[in-house]
Symmetry: C2
Subunit: 329 residues, 2 copies
């Protein structure tokens, strides 16, 4: 198949995603956004590089979705409603039209699912690996969002969904660890899917905005991210290990290989939300989350005195970790 | 010098650029922007890849400025006032702290000059070339900006600044063409500087917003970009070659090597603004531009009937070009 020009490629693959009138079908150099009166904008940017953040031979629609979803996860944790995104896509020398079809299909599906139109971007060539840089724009009513630094001693710590699936899914994808052959096929598929397609908790955003004193998304490992949150708040935390929600697939893996628990709570790629909520707000927070169908689990509390989170084991002992979070850098 | 962690690096090099309160010194996952009531947002994204869009051994502050300025140029052409930007920076394996110092110094200087704070972004590693993806956010009063498609037959075509310096500066940088050794040192330095540091015409933005029926920035070559503008408007154009403004450095080069005129008007990297302005608005447009100290030159007019721009030579003949615009893709 002959390779289209940049303009043809935009018209064919990306213009259909630009459903917002102000994006003018991507025929312009810039998009115009008129946010609802009284709202503020929440903006975030995250980029992914092939072989660093995903496997070059992952399905292209999964790569597209992950690039978008890691940004949506930041919007969710700040209580924002998605409004649009821009993406710069640097294609390697050997890019294929079929790959781009899959990539744009993934963006289209998620754009519809999360009601976030493509507003613009840039498509270019690189002598290096495929690189995708996304900027996501959301709105909140008013002019305040939950920060990392608002947690107060006594606040309860909640986390959405389940923790560790992404980190274990990466091990499944690598396929070199013996345990990956001993869990059920369903468990392996679940972990892999969670690695490839994180689920941004946008439905939780209103509850976070209304009730959290501090919140952030969990992307670099639960323990390390809680450490960042409470450090920004000048506080500490206690987390009950047995309360950290694991999927049945993750429990399946940990039952076979107990050391995977450490990996699950430090490995990253969760894209869940961790929120500090004052005891007075906790019931309302849980009720709103339940009404939106998002599981939230209380895993600990914020404590006075700055310091790394204390991880309490079932027997009351303290778990020591070699490292608290993952860094791609 | 030991390499800092990602967090250290952000704190040291980028947090000082995040002067907007809603960016919280880049200690957050997202920034909060509260645009002035009654304004709309203009958003644009452009990325640069080393060895494709700049030379890896260019001064790092110039690389930073170019990455920012090519985006500011889009804001200027849409009449927008800069409000903030996000940048994803993928650093190659061999990155140096000194390089990053220069890079952040360039961003700091331009952030101050153009009053545009850093709002956020992502710093990551790549096995490939240095890649910088910028998203710039501006505002306009009201909810309308000049588009490409608003030009009407009879509108006058204006261009800001001078054309061709960037394209000729690239040839100077490559240093392989004989003419580059025959122009004056000052001319060579001027062309090179214009290639490395485009000058976004932000001071022209209010005039464009108030008086242009269509506008865009000139980045892929004047002739090709005019072709895009009038095509979007369902029109054609006549451009008087001798009216296209050239710097004295470019004239110096063209005097030695006449074929460079083609390159100057098609080569790209101008980052000037081309605007279609109705005859009734032209005087006011020119007066506003003059009041802001931005040179604008009338180079032709929009004509009825869709078709490529007709390039009129001094003797009345039509110049034929082999290609109308440059594409990095």
């Amino acid at each position: 198949m002959p390779r289209p020009s940049e303009d043809d490629l935009i018209a064919r693959f990306f213009a259909p995603l630009a459903t917002y009138p102000g994006a003018v079908g991507l025929t312009e150099d810039a998009a115009l956004i008129s946010p609802p009166p009284g709202t503020s904008l929440v903006v975030t940017a995250d980029a992914l590089v092939a072989s660093v953040h995903f496997f070059p031979d992952d399905p292209p629609d999964d790569i597209a979705r992950k690039a978008l979803r890691v940004n949506l996860s930041d919007l969710a944790a700040k209580g924002a409603k998605p409004r649009g995104y821009l993406r710069s896509l640097a294609l390697p020398e050997d890019w294929q039209v079929e790959w781009l079809e899959g990539f744009s299909r993934g963006l289209a599906a998620d754009g519809e699912a999360y009601r976030i139109p493509l507003l613009g971007g840039d498509t270019l060539r690189t002598p290096g690996p495929l690189t995708i840089a996304v900027t996501a724009i959301g709105t909140v009513p008013g002019a305040a969002i939950p920060r990392r630094n608002g947690a107060r001693p006594g606040d309860l710590l909640f986390v959405s969904g389940t923790i560790g699936d992404g980190a274990l899914g990466l091990i499944v994808r690598l396929g070199r660890a013996a345990w990956t052959g001993r869990i059920t096929t369903e468990s392996a598929a679940h972990l892999l899917r969670r690695y490839r397609r994180p689920e941004p908790r946008l439905a939780l955003a209103p509850a976070v905005l209304a009730h959290a004193s501090a919140a952030m998304d969990v992307s670099d490992g639960l323990v390390g991210d809680i450490a960042k949150l409470v450090r920004a708040s000048g506080a500490g935390a206690e987390v009950a290990i047995q309360d950290i929600p694991l999927s049945s697939a993750a429990r399946d893996a940990v039952a076979i290989e107990p050391s995977l628990l450490d990996r699950a709570i430090t490995g990253g790629d969760d894209y869940e939300v961790v929120a500090a909520v004052s005891p007075a707000e906790a019931q309302a927070f849980e009720a709103m989350a339940a009404a939106e169908g998002v599981a939230v689990t209380r895993i600990g509390m914020v404590t006075a005195g700055e310091g790394p989170p204390r991880l309490i084991m079932r027997d009351g002992g303290i778990l020591r970790l070699e490292r608290g979070s993952f860094s791609h850098f």
